[in-house]
Amino acid sequence: MVIDTVRCVGCMDCVVACKTENNVPEGFNRDWIAYDVQGEFPTLQMEIRSERCNHCDAPPCVYCCPTGASHVHDVGGVVLVDYDKCIGCKACVASCPYGARFINPEGYAEKCTFCIHRVEEGLDPACVSVCPTHCMHFGDLDDPNSEVSTLLASRRHHTLMPEAGTKPRIFYLT
């Protein structure tokens, strides 16, 4: 996934769409908005980001899961949780430097799934499909001709906390 921080206005449509599409319990969020202000007055710079699970290439949540409930899906390397295998030990929550996971009131770990049920039908994730500024782009990073690959090849970008060594796969255009 590629997110254009220049276009994002922090309207939270993506947050609402996710909660609606995935029936996220009240009081919890699978995605959220971050307002990152840097610099010294008067030369301040603000980046607005729509954040969620980074579906890392080196996912610590998958590595630490004792039951195999957290796993990498066959389609696109999406990191998912098998709710019937999750024992609610919270190791994955502790292992995620992004705080992307939470414990559902029913007792299992929950997080962004990239709306895999929609993606497998050829649709975009709910957050991407509702974004009014079209700041979010979803596609195949392994395909050099895909929209996301083209954007990454042509624009400056960064990931979140690359120093944590998780190889996050959500890229923010700046």
Binding site: M12, V15, G27, F28, N29, W32, I33, A34, Y35, D36, V37, Q38, G39, E40, E51, P60, V62, Y63, C64, C65, P66, T67, G68, A69, D84, K85, C86, I87, G88, C89, K90, A91, V93, A94, S95, C96, P97, G99, R101, F102, I103, E106, G107, Y108, M161, E163, A164, G165, T166
Partner: protein, 310 residues
């Protein structure tokens, strides 16, 4: 200047991670204590103490079984999806220290059970004939008894190490990112076990020996603490910030007073006087060591959750 504001507020995660309460520190403490007891018990078996002593070899495996069950019950209480706990034993995930630990714990039960068969205490003799026959069989083959001692020591080391490795494998929590954590928890477990046996034994030889051993473990623990703190202080900024939670941050009073002071230095001083026959052995020093070990787990688990890369 950097100011980060997020709209998220997920329970147990925001504003600070607090997913593990009292259950995990208690589990880690009891796990470490059992590990130490297994090592001490195994050592006594190898030293043929079971032929002489009335306490350690007889009752320690039973006590360890009870403590381990208490620890596992605390772990069970911590699970949020309790009815699925059996899923731990339908797979082995080699990248997950928690999976290793759950299987190690499962192996420890039979290891402790066979340890109890070396000498069945008088009140239990004749209750279960099969156990009496197995015990007699062991004494016909002393090599089996030696192997039980070695097995208990090896599994004790594995369990003691595991309690530290479990935390240090979480890269997202800088305070736990230390290769010294397994050594710290293993030595602390040994120290707590030595203090525990010192506290309850009636045998003078065992008490003297374990008080001396505990002094060695407490001294070693100070060196391991030195390595743990130095390693983090000479690492990246997030690691320095993390260890300063203990050194001069919000956890410093508990860390310096209850873990280092009352948990290590004071009992070390008392026991040094006691083993040199300047003062009598009392329950004060071992109780302080046990409380210090428990507090150590609480401080490390809580401060570790407080530490973050952000």
């Amino acid at each position: 200047m950097q100011e980060l504001t997020i709209t998220r507020h997920n329970e147990m995660i925001d504003p600070l991670l607090h997913i593990w309460g009292w259950e995990i520190p208690v589990y880690l403490f009891l796990g470490g204590l059992v590990a130490g007891i297994m090592i001490i018990s195994g050592y006594f078996v190898l030293q043929h103490r079971y032929r002489h002593t009335v306490f350690t070899t007889f009752y320690l495996p039973y006590i360890a079984l009870a403590l381990l069950s208490g620890g596992m019950f605390a772990l069970f209480l911590d699970l949020e999806h309790k009815i699925y706990f059996w899923r731990l034993y339908t797979t082995f995930e080699w990248t997950s220290p928690m999976s290793w630990g759950s299987w190690i714990l499962l192996i420890i039960y039979p290891a402790l059970w066979v340890n109890t068969l070396i000498r069945i205490p008088e009140p239990f003799k004749g209750k279960i004939p099969l156990f009496d026959r197995l015990s007699a069989l062991l004494h016909q083959h002393p090599v089996l008894i030696r192997n039980i001692g070695v097995l208990n020591m090896v599994l004790g080391v594995a369990l003691g190490m595991y309690t530290g490795v479990l935390l240090s494998s979480f890269g997202a929590r800088p305070l736990w990112n230390s290769a010294m954590l397994w050594a710290l928890f293993l030595v602390s477990g040994l120290s707590a076990a030595a203090a525990f046996v010192h506290l309850i034994t009636t045998d003078v030889y065992e008490r003297e020996m374990l008080a001396k051993a505990d002094n060695a473990f407490l001294t070693l623990e100070l060196f391991v603490f030195g390595g743990f703190i130095t390693g983090l202080l000479t690492s990246t900024k997030v690691h320095i910030d993390a260890v300063r939670l203990l050194l001069d941050g919000p956890y410093a009073p508990v860390f310096w007073v209850f873990v280092i002071g009352l948990g290590i230095l004071v009992p070390l001083a008392i026991q040094l006087f006691a083993v040199n026959h300047k003062i009598r052995h009392t329950a004060i020093a071992p109780i302080l060591v046990l409380l210090g070990g428990l507090t150590l787990r609480f401080v490390i688990v809580y401060a570790g959750q407080y530490s973050t890369w952000a």
